[in-house]
Subunit: 125 residues, 2 copies
């Protein structure tokens, strides 16, 4: 039996990303966005958005013609909890090995390195 996910699942996150990007959206708007990338039924989007609402991630507001769905929490907050859950699950709560992993991977620009250096220099920030 499938355990409940503490954090956003794959599809839930896809939908939330669309809505976070625009700030608020109707089912139709999310559907139009997603269908540019893949085949999905309008009613699938509708269902998922209602699931997200019932889970407390979205709030419904009356719109001109269609209900508008608004995120309950900012993206950063939600992503933060997802990062925490990932670190707990995969690294037993310690961020250090994850940081080491990421820094050892090529892909950071010089500017990004500088920025990260700054963050590392700040004590207790």
């Amino acid at each position: 039996m499938r355990p409940k996910s503490d954090t956003l699942t794959g599809q839930e996150l896809e939908l939330m990303k669309v809505i976070w990007r625009t700030g608020r959206a109707t089912v139709r708007e999310v559907y139009e966005d997603l269908k540019t990338r893949r085949t999905i039924a309008y009613t699938s989007v509708q269902t998922m958005m209602n699931v997200l609402e019932s889970k407390g991630h979205l709030r419904k507001e009356p719109g001109d013609r269609a209900q508008t769905y608004v995120p309950v929490r900012p993206q950063q907050t939600v992503v933060r909890s997802m990062v925490r859950e990932f670190v707990d699950r995969v690294f037993d709560g310690s961020a250090r090995p994850l940081l080491v992993h990421l820094l050892k991977e090529k892909g950071l620009t010089a500017a990004e390195r500088k920025e990260l250096q700054k963050l590392l220099d700040k004590e207790g920030e």
Copy 2:
């Protein structure tokens, strides 16, 4: 319908962690380890280990009395792919925001900071 997971699911990861820790294990050994932490049936462990075998994460070897399961890939390799999948999924492939997230969280010791500084200083490592 549940999409297939590209990476280890929650329970799969729990089992793999036990086996990575010991290097190889029988169903019984994994079962004894897990049951110290939670209620689970021996046959549940058995099933999951066979699932992991069929998925290519474990290899069966004949043992003295019980078959021994051996990881096919080292933990680091598997964890690396899980990190990649996470970054792709949550951060659209860019490690930078995840690094910023992690560095802004309190929790790193001075020694850890020093270590990370070193990694940042290394060009193209």
